[in-house]
């Protein structure tokens, strides 16, 4: 265990990416993620890496595509409106089956919105990152330590499955500091990138990284193969955290910063005699459906806590097959739910104040 240091979440992501072997960062500033780029600008030259501030978010994601096609670990980061601009590139990355890391430190929307924390890009991350049939592998940290650990995991899973991973954070996690340790990432047994366009040296057939297939039979085949891969990811890679869940009547579902606030409310509910617990998705895609289905067998009701008008709630309802009532507790626009508001939602779900 390495010594604990205090870091902002944004800085922790950047340092973790460098430790994970990323030497190619393409950025464009936007609050509240700018410290990721600022940290990279400072550190990359010292580790013989490349920090490049692109002329736009669109340029940055396409540079990621190019670097990844050449077989290196590449990343970009942005915040909500900037991620929307990257949509085209995200879809092309998927169509090319390229690994990459994209960080979204969410802020309020829609439109330019505001700069305060939000979780209203859940649909964007898990459903609508771009056109066509594809998924990002979406990881949702809820502490600075997880921002490090999940950055390591994101690069590993991206390389293992040739998918683009997204780290979905929010303004609170990006800006806050707490102690974190930065061990070197564990060595992973990953497949060789024998598909990368690295030059043949005249010794082999050239590789092609491409997303254009004009014969529909061929394009269908790539889609079917990709979804076979997604099925494996859904089977193997869904992750969640359970907190006081075993005997919980009321299961609170929350990810990221909302899950931290929900913990305060759950402890307060327990103090009132309401058996509440937390089921926190760590992966948003694949969603930990099995854990929710299991919890639905014993829970009386679910409460989702989101800084959105209700997006993850759809995955919770799908996972529990509407077997138990699911209600929403939310604030939006950069406002953050207070523990008292969540506690009130828990009380309501438990059948009124006890």
């Amino acid at each position: 265990m390495s010594e604990k240091v205090l870091m902002k979440g944004n800085e922790a992501i950047a340092e973790a990416a460098i430790r994970a072997g990323c030497r190619h960062f393409f950025g464009y500033p936007i609050t509240p993620q700018t410290e990721v780029a600022a940290y990279m600008a400072r550190r990359m030259p010292k580790v013989d890496g490349l920090y490049l501030q692109a002329e736009s978010e669109i340029a940055a994601i396409n540079m990621v595509l190019g670097a990844s096609a050449a077989g290196v670990r590449a990343m970009t980061s942005s915040s909500s409106p900037g991620i929307a601009l990257k949509s085209e590139g995200l879809s092309y990355l998927a169509g090319c089956d390229l690994p990459a890391l994209v960080v979204n430190v969410q802020r309020g929307g829609p439109g330019l919105g505001g700069i305060q924390p939000s979780q209203s890009d859940y649909f964007q991350a898990t459903r609508g990152a771009g056109h066509g049939d594809f998924h990002l592998l979406v990881l949702a940290p809820n502490s600075i330590q997880e921002m490090v650990d999940l950055t390591y995991l994101a690069f590993e899973l991206a390389d293992r499955y040739r998918v683009t991973a997204m780290l979905l954070a929010d303004g609170i996690l990006g800006q806050m500091m707490e102690p974190v340790s930065l061990p070197d990432p564990a060595a992973a047994d990953l497949p060789p990138k024998d598909w990368a366009v690295t030059g043949t040296g005249g010794k082999r057939l050239h590789n092609i990284v491409n997303s254009l297939y004009l014969k529909p039979e061929d394009l269908e085949a790539t889609n079917l193969a990709r979804y076979e891969k997604y099925a494996v990811i859904q089977r193997r890679e869904a992750r969640h955290e359970a907190f006081l869940l075993d005997d919980a009547d009321i299961v609170v579902a929350a990810y990221g910063a909302s899950a931290r606030i929900a913990k305060n409310a759950i402890l307060a509910a327990r103090a009132e005699g309401i058996r509440a617990g937390l089921l926190r998705p760590v992966t948003l895609w694949p969603f930990p459906k099995a854990a929710f289905a299991q919890a639905a067998k014993t829970a009386r009701a679910f409460v989702t806590v989101e800084m959105s008008m209700g997006q993850m709630i759809e995955d919770v309802e799908l996972s529990v097959r509407c077997a138990k009532p699911v209600t929403l507790c939310s604030r939006v626009g950069g406002m953050v739910p207070a523990p008292e508001q969540i506690l009130e939602s828990i009380r309501q779900a438990a059948g009124g104040a006890k």
């Binding site: 205090l6 509240p32 800006q175 500091m177 910063a257 931290r260 523990p339």
Partner: protein
């Protein structure tokens, strides 16, 4: 030690820096800690604040809604946050910049003319740390032997003169 601390004032008063010092002190002292700044355009010449939490158990929300300790370094901050202090909590006012007394009678209020003391003692820009010195004296948040170690984490060794000035400001606050 469990404490929820809110430090608030103008951008440029070293509000976030004071919070960073405290959070390092808490970490070195073995507490679970978190630090959350206000961020955005309001920091440029406007108000700035930061939430610092010390806890014996893992920290859930890093947001301080009901501070046990409020440090107010300008009037807008006092107006905004005084009503949020937990009953029985402590309020520290820079009385050189804030001329009104506290409205609350269910909290303990300390008046420190920190900005004036800083100017008189050649500690320009360190009113923040004078305030923190008083907070440490009155709350026992962190033992004196941790102060220097924590300060070294936030003031680099190559700026030793600044390190000494910051420590002097803390000491001034303790005795104020």
């Amino acid at each position: 030690m469990n404490a929820k601390i809110l430090i608030a004032g103008f951008g440029g008063q070293g509000i976030l820096f004071a919070g960073k010092f405290l959070v390092y002190a808490g970490m070195i002292g073995g507490a679970e800690v978190s630090w959350l700044p206000s961020y955005g355009p309001e920091m440029r010449g406007g108000t700035a604040n930061c939430s610092v939490i010390f806890s014996d158990s893992p920290i859930g929300s890093p947001i301080v809604d009901t501070p046990d300790i409020l440090v107010a370094m300008n009037l807008p901050s006092l107006d905004k946050f005084e009503p949020t202090v937990r009953p029985g909590g402590q309020l520290f006012i820079d009385s050189a910049l804030i001329t009104r007394p506290a409205n609350r009678s269910d909290i303990e209020t300390h008046y420190i003319p920190a900005t004036r003391l800083a100017e008189e003692l050649g500690l320009q820009g360190l009113a923040n740390m004078i305030m923190i010195g008083r907070v440490l004296e009155k709350t026992g948040l962190c033992p004196p032997d941790i102060v220097t170690a924590a300060m070294k984490k936030v003031v680099p060794e190559r700026k030793k003169a600044l390190l000494d000035k910051n420590l002097e400001a803390i000491e001034t606050g303790r005795k104020a």
